[in-house]
Structures are given as structure tokens and as C-alpha cells.
Symmetry: C2
Subunit: 596 residues, 2 copies
Amino acid sequence: MQVYSPPLRDMRFVLHELHGSDVLRTLEGLEEVTPDLIDAVLDEAGKLVTEVLAPLNQSADQEGCTYENGVVRTPKGFKEAYKTFIEGGWNGIACDPQYGGQGLPASVNKLVEEMLCSGNLAFGICPGLTHGAYEALKAYASDDLKNRFLPKMVEGVWSGAMCLTEPQCGTDLGLVRTRAVPQADGSYKITGNKIFISAGEQDLTENIIHLVLARLPDAPSGIKGISLFLVPKFLPKDDGALGPRNGVLCTGIEHKMGIHGSSTCQMSFEEATGWLVGEPNRGMRAMFAMMNSERLSVGTQGLGLGEAAYQAAVAYARERLQGRALTGAKHPDKPADPIIVHPDVRRMLMTMRAYNEGCRALGGWVARALDLMEHASDPQTRRQAEDFTSLMTPIVKALFTDLGFASASMGMQVYGGHGYIRDHGMEQYVRDARIAMIYEGTNGVQALDLVGRKLPAHMGRYLRSFFHPVLAYIDAKMDDENLSPLIAPLGKAFGALQLATAHIAEKGLRDPDEAGAAATEYLRLFGLVALGYMWVRMADVAYEKRAGAGDDAAFYEAKIATARFYMDKLLPEVAALWGAIKAGKAATMGLDETLF
Amino acid sequence: MQVYSPPLRDMRFVLHELHGSDVLRTLEGLEEVTPDLIDAVLDEAGKLVTEVLAPLNQSADQEGCTYENGVVRTPKGFKEAYKTFIEGGWNGIACDPQYGGQGLPASVNKLVEEMLCSGNLAFGICPGLTHGAYEALKAYASDDLKNRFLPKMVEGVWSGAMCLTEPQCGTDLGLVRTRAVPQADGSYKITGNKIFISAGEQDLTENIIHLVLARLPDAPSGIKGISLFLVPKFLPKDDGALGPRNGVLCTGIEHKMGIHGSSTCQMSFEEATGWLVGEPNRGMRAMFAMMNSERLSVGTQGLGLGEAAYQAAVAYARERLQGRALTGAKHPDKPADPIIVHPDVRRMLMTMRAYNEGCRALGGWVARALDLMEHASDPQTRRQAEDFTSLMTPIVKALFTDLGFASASMGMQVYGGHGYIRDHGMEQYVRDARIAMIYEGTNGVQALDLVGRKLPAHMGRYLRSFFHPVLAYIDAKMDDENLSPLIAPLGKAFGALQLATAHIAEKGLRDPDEAGAAATEYLRLFGLVALGYMWVRMADVAYEKRAGAGDDAAFYEAKIATARFYMDKLLPEVAALWGAIKAGKAATMGLDETLF
């Protein structure tokens, strides 16, 4: 049996104590988001996850989705759970009240998302995609489309799906072949085949709104000829009721390693009616509104699974009796000591803990920037926040999912053979976590986005949104008695990040393969430094608060101990990454293609 | 579809060119092992794997083993394949001719094993265990037991299984509860329950010989009260024919992440007749003869899957068209370039390649030592060889399986979404590879074996079997024009290994938790240095041979390019590991147990 309990204390720490939730209320539209309201939302979300969603996680994995004659059935219990989910208003908590949403900030929503991912990743994928589609439509669709589709999507009675991939194209969407032919009434007829469409067909919602990439007849070739279309499964009538079935058919689902509770569909569009979203041939722009939102959410999936695996591993490490502490029996009354006494088990638990809490803190910072982007009145603040989220999106996506997979695998290792069999649910975490490194742009593509687009953008302006606060912080705290042992390794690692950045900027300008060959290591280096910064700041808060904290002092002690572990044991990886980066591309590109 | 072609050229390189197969023929009992014979064996093994075993790999994964009323059925085709396997004499190729084996050296057998693991890991597990049981019986059983059981096991009509684990004990075998009661005729009645018994029941062989850990009535508690028993499924008659069924029953099989073609059995022993192997209460000693052999074989599993994943990833990277080279289109005639042009794809392929070939070379060195241990006439040579295999066994087991899992996962990443679905078989490699990090002693246990037993043994004598040749080599080649760019990083990494060794020896003496907290990083550091040494030596051979190599020059060029990649891009990890080791245990053990 999987065990999971929402880490509410740590979530409140990140939200209120580390990033300061008071700021939220100063923003337009968020005046009523009080700490009490936030805590109540988190509590309720935690209940939903533990009482409704998590109990279905293992059975859904074992049962999977089934396909028959165009119909996809989700695992037992999903329909009822989804009904509870949307009746509780959870589908629209972060959506605009104008369309029926609750208008809660991303800072809160990301934590709710994390709980969903921990409790039942496969279940969360469909509402996650609905939210992504909502973002794209809200940003780019006509008012008419928005008014016709968004309220139902926000409510959750209609879902969203992203139809990008085709058999011949995944990363390279310039190869899309699906065609869109304009009709006299302003609509389009869409024809083509899509694959790997998550929740492209399911039995949870009465309608499914597909966002489909396709080509207009006169479109230029490649990525500049792609347009985005809204294509519903059922065509709504003018009064909003469901009309006739559209030419959209699921022709099969994939058998895959994990996320069995989420259908991965082959979709066929045959002269399906759709409407253009945004401008002709500018589909990628609109699609990126959805993808950026999804990329951050996929990062959260990594964190959610890492947290679930950590909790399970701790529970098992306390309970499993095996061997004696190296320094002598700790529980001589028992046949053996619990394995948590062993340093190598500690190493794994501390690593998972340091990754998870570090990612939660960094995710919270990015979520705060999303809120500022959306709600700040000052254009300068909005721009800086946008710079920061642009910069951090590939890092959150790739780093969190790499670490989430590593944590899931480590959690399984704590269980030994019992982790490899199905019963405890650990191997499911590993299988589920693996997809997050791939979808919404593989982690390699994220790294290229970072070095190829985000670093050079506006002469490096995005970078400043991270470099400046970190530099200022290091400068301010360098002589702090408590923090200096943490600041020293952070400063060193940050120095390596600066060197690596300069190296890539300089070499990459002359030869883009130099940037490409360093990209993955650079993203990881950047991410580890960002987590290091978060850890020092968390320790900073913890040192400040522990004295008067009473029973809560232990929480702050744990923060300080974990910060030290991160700095001592995990941040040194930066040295390896910088070593690999500065070696340049020669070794990576040196072997002739024919000799592999 | 999985693709796999035995890497015969590289295997011959390791065997003949790197480690020199001529030495083998100078050893007693191996006089007839000519290079031609070796090559013929490898060729035939390659055919067996590609024609008979590999075609069953994916179907066996999907079908799995089934259990009904004590009977286990292996997947379709396994019975016929096993018949072909034993009829070809493959089961006994490395066994003593005295018992019907072919007496081939480990240097050859390990390469055959690698091919089996690449082609069909689950299939290979049963014969692998038979071989482990053979080793334990050969070393510790009475002549009577050996004569009654070994010939059938060597032939493969009877298989072997290792019955160690019980629900309450895995790593800590001191907790074994299974009892053995002596009988008047010198046999024992064995009673108890075992779990996680690979191939504990199957339909491939007419009998199954279980090696069972159990306690005698008067046994001391803990690990010093464990004895080893041979317990056959069917009791053989005096003429060797099968007699009555013994009190051995499979009560269920596990559902697990991978290796579905291999049954993982719950076994119940009810007054089953068995015979003592070795001395009373010294069962662990005999079991270790089996386990050490198995640990090296599990390392080979990691390598085998890493190789299979690499080959598949290369094939896909050549064929999948997606995007353009960053430096401009390489194939403007095609809709896109094959993804092998992308530096980040190259990074993954080169990493897998460098790991696989490095592990094959290191595995070849260890196999050579096994042959010297067994066949050398000079006791000093035998002892040195034994020191070396003792030292390297935990490294081969843990490092090869960690890297194998990483390679399988990387291979899947090259496929993107197509790797996550079942069709290409990439996700199977990831699932299958994951167990190798756990069974036969988790990789954390291997690390403890290294720092706790192997480092301190005989005042560090084992270490010298590795340190001396590496030091001498670095010394000899330091000024070699070709090699010096590779020797420099090797020397630096070796220096870190020396420092880390001294650090652990010194700190661990005072506080065993210090050694425990550094163990995993130390094993990896050691392993990476060992691969680095192999890479320089391979480059050395390649530089020497490429000039006159004709068509084969490309092979040597590839070796040199891969050596450079390993040194530039992978060996720098040593800096991170040494950084983490020297931080000591404080951070790992600092968090109070209650605060996790």
C-alpha cells in the first residue's frame, strides 16, 4: 500500500514564511487571498487527495484504461472521483472568475497540483490539460470562442486536450501534416492523424475540446506555417447544449510504461469542424501559452512523485528491521534495528528530502512570479516576473522531473526487493515518474530552450532576474555567522554558474553545437545552484524562527540540517558539471556518425 | 521491435587485444582454448541469442509467468528455447569437464553471459542461478552430493535456485527462521517459508535443486547459526532417476516491475528432505561462493541491458528525422535531419557507449582474474587474482547495474515518447534493468562490502591488486605523446581515489558511520577511476594498432574518440564524489530520526 500525507506544514512554510504570502493580497484581484483562506484551501485539497484520489492510484495503475470502438473507459472509480473533483470547484481554482473560476493565485494552485500529482498522477493529467487549454484560449482565442467554451472548461464538465504530435513529428512540429480548410462560415475543416494525445478520449467529461495544430492551404512550410484550431468532440449549439458529434475519433490507445490511468490516444480528425485560435500561421505562439503552463505543471509532477516516494521510503525505513547500526545496536530489544539507522539509507532519504523541499521552494518562487506577471500593477514588476518565469520554465520542467525520477528510484531502493514488486506501489512511482522527463518537450529540448532561447534573449536580460537577487543575497549574508558555512559553497557554485554561462555565451555564439553539447549539464548546474540558493534562504528563515518556535523548533532544525546536507553532499555535483561543460563539444561531436 | 546484434568485434578486442587471450592457453586445463575456438564460441553464442532468445524477449515480458496450484508456467517459447540452449551445451560451458562441462574460461563465459542478458535477461536468470548453485556445491558439497547432482545441473536438465530471503529478512540473513532437523540417515528435514526465489519453480527443467539457508536446532542466533542445505524438488533415486516429490511447494509468484519471464516465487518447505552443504553453522561461507559468482553475473546484466539499449538508441537516432542540425541542415534533401546530428543526442549515445565499452573492458579484466584464480599454477598469482576479484566484485555488481539502468533510461530518452510506449521495447529495458540494482545485495550493501570488508582486509592488501598496476601504468605512460591528454585526467582522478581511500580508512576506523556515509560515493568513484584506466589502456591499444589496421582503422578511431569523451565528460564526476565524501557523515546523520 502506498502511504501519502500532504506535506502541509512545509507548504505553508514555503508560501507564508519563505516567499511571504502577504504580498499576494497587495495585488489587484487577490485582495481576499488571506493566509487563512490559503490554509483552508490547502487543507481541503489535502483531504480530497487522501480521501478520494490517492486510494484509486494503485488500482487504476493495475486496471488501466480500456479502448473499444472509439470509446475509452477510465479505471474504476475515476468517474465518481472526477465528479467530486469538479463539484468541489477544484477544476477552476486558478481560473478567472469571469469564466467561473475561483481566481486563486498560482502560488496556491501549484501546491494543490503537487498534492494531486503525489496522490494520483494519472488522474491529474486530464484536468491539467484542461487548464493548459484554458490558458491558451484565454490568451489567444476570440471573445466569442472564450465565451462559448471557457465556462464549461473551467467548471470541468468539458475537458481540454493538446493535439500536437503526429507519427512523423514530435519535437519538430514544423513537420505537422494535419490540414485545415477554411469554410464559408469562418470555420475550418480539419483532417489528419495525431498520436500521443493524453486524455484525447475519456469518459469523464461530456465534451472534449481539442487544441489542434494544423496547416492552412496556403501556409508556408515548416514551423511558420502552423496554425492552432479549437476542435470540440461535440459541436455545441448556440445555447451551449451539446450538438452533433464532430469528425473526431479516437482510433486506439497506447500500452505504456506507466500513467496507466491516463489514456494516451491516437486521434483521427476527418473534416472535423474547428475554429482558428489566434492568427493564421502563428499557432506556435498560442500553443506555447499552453505548453509553458504545462511545462511548469510537468515539473510539479516530478516533485509530487518525489515527495510521495520519500514519504513511503521514510515509513518503510522506520518499520523494516534489518541489521544493526554500524556503531552498535540501537534497539537491542528488537531482533534488528530499523534500517533508518544505516548511513546509506539516511543518504537516500536525505537526498530525496533535500531535492523535494528544494524544488518546492523554487517552484514557489516561480509561482510567485506567475502571480506578479498576472496581477502586479507595475509594468516593470510584471516584466521582471515574466523574464524570470521564461528563464526558469525549462529548469523547473527538466530539473524537477530528473530529480523526481531519481527520488522515485531511490525510494524504491530503500525498499529493496519489496520495492520491485507491485504491492507497495513504489515501482509505480518509478514508472509514472519516467514520462515526465519526456513529454511537453524532452528534458534535452528544455536544455536547448535554456541555452538557445532564454540565455541570449534581450542580451541576457532574463538571466538578470535570477543572477541579481542571488548576488545581492550572497553579498548581504556573507558574514552572517549562521549562514556563512552555507553561503561559502553557494558562492562557489554560483561562480561556476557564472563561468559556465560566459563559456556558453561566448563559444555558442561562434558555434551553436558548443551550446548544444553543454546544454543538459548547464541546465542541471543552473538548477542545482537555484536549489542551493533556496536552501540557504530556507535555512535563513529557520535560524531566525527556531528560537521562539516552541514545538515547531524541530521543524526549523530539520530545515537547517537538510540545508547542510544539500550543501555538503549534493551541491558538489556542480564541480562535475562545470568540468564537463568546459571540456567543450569536441569529444561529444568527435565520433563520425557512421562509427556509432 | 527491439534490435540487438552481438558486439562481437568489441568483445574480441577486449579478449584478445586488450587483455591478451594468449595467456589463457598457458594455464593448466585451458591449453586448448585457442583464439579460433574462442571466436567460434562467441559466434555461435551470438547466433543462439539473436535467433532463439532475443525474439522471445518482448513477448515473454508481455505474457509473463503464470501460477496455478503450485505450478509455474514460463512464457510461450521458453521451453523450446531452453531445450535448444541445453542441447547446445551452453548451460555448462564454464563448468568443469569432470561433471560434463566444457571447461571454458570465465573470460569467454562472461561475454556469452553478456549476450544472453542483452537478448533476453529473464530467460538467462534460471541458467545463471544453476551456475551459481553449481559453484557453491562444487566448492563446499561432499563428493557424494557433487556426483549425484552436479552432472544433471551442468547438463541443464536440473536447475538451481537460491533460497535465502524470508519475509522478515533480506539483507540481514541472521534473521533466517527456516529450521533444519537432523535425521538418523544423515539427511535433514527442512521447514520454513522463503520469498523472492527466482526460478524457484518453473516448467523448464525436470528437477530444481534448491540451496536453502536454515538453522539447526542447536544453532547460535544470528548469522553464525546459519547452515546451507541442498533440497531438491524431486528426490533422486540411487540410479539418478527422479524419485518422489519432496516437501517443496511454490505457493505463489510476485507481480513485479520487470523480468516478467522469470518467476519470482514464494516457496514453502514442509519437512522437506535436504542435505547439509559444507559445515554446520557455516552456511554463509558456502552461500557466498554462490553469491559472489551471482554478483558478478548481475553486474553483467547491467552491461547487457546497457548495450541493448545503446544499440537500439543508435538505430533510432539514425532513422528518426526531426529538426535540423544546429549548424545548418545536414540532409537538405530530407524533411529533417536524423536526430543523431543533435549534440544532446550525441551526448546520450556517447555516454552509453563509453559506459558499456568501459564496463566490458573492466569485466574482462575481472574475468581474467577469475581464470587465473582457478587455473594458474603459481600460488602468488592465484592469490593476487583472488584479491582482485574480491575487491572488484562489489564494484562490478553496483557500478555496472547503476550504469546499466542509467543507459537503459538514456536509451529510452533518445526515443522520446516512442520510448515510453511498449512497442519499441525500450521501456522493458528500463524495467528489467532496475532489479539488478537490488538483488544479490542492494548496491548500497555492495558499497558497505567494499568499504567495510574489502578495504580493510589484510591491512589493505586487496587494494594493491588495483592500485599497483594503475600507478605503474600512469608512471610508464605519462609522457606518451598520444596518451598524455588521457593520462592527465586519469592521474587526477586516481589521486582523488587515493585521498578518498585514506579518508575512509582513517575516519572509518574511529567511527564506522563515517565509512558507511561515504560508501556509495566511494564505490562509484572507485568504479569511475577503474573505467578511466580501462579507457586509457584501450586507447593505448588503439593508437598502436590503427596505423596498420586497414579497414579496421575506423574501429580504433572510435575507441580513441570514446576514450576522450569518457575523460572529458564523464570522469569529472569524480570531483563531485570526492567533494561529497570529504564532507563526512555529519550532514547525513545530523537529522534526528524522528524528524524525517
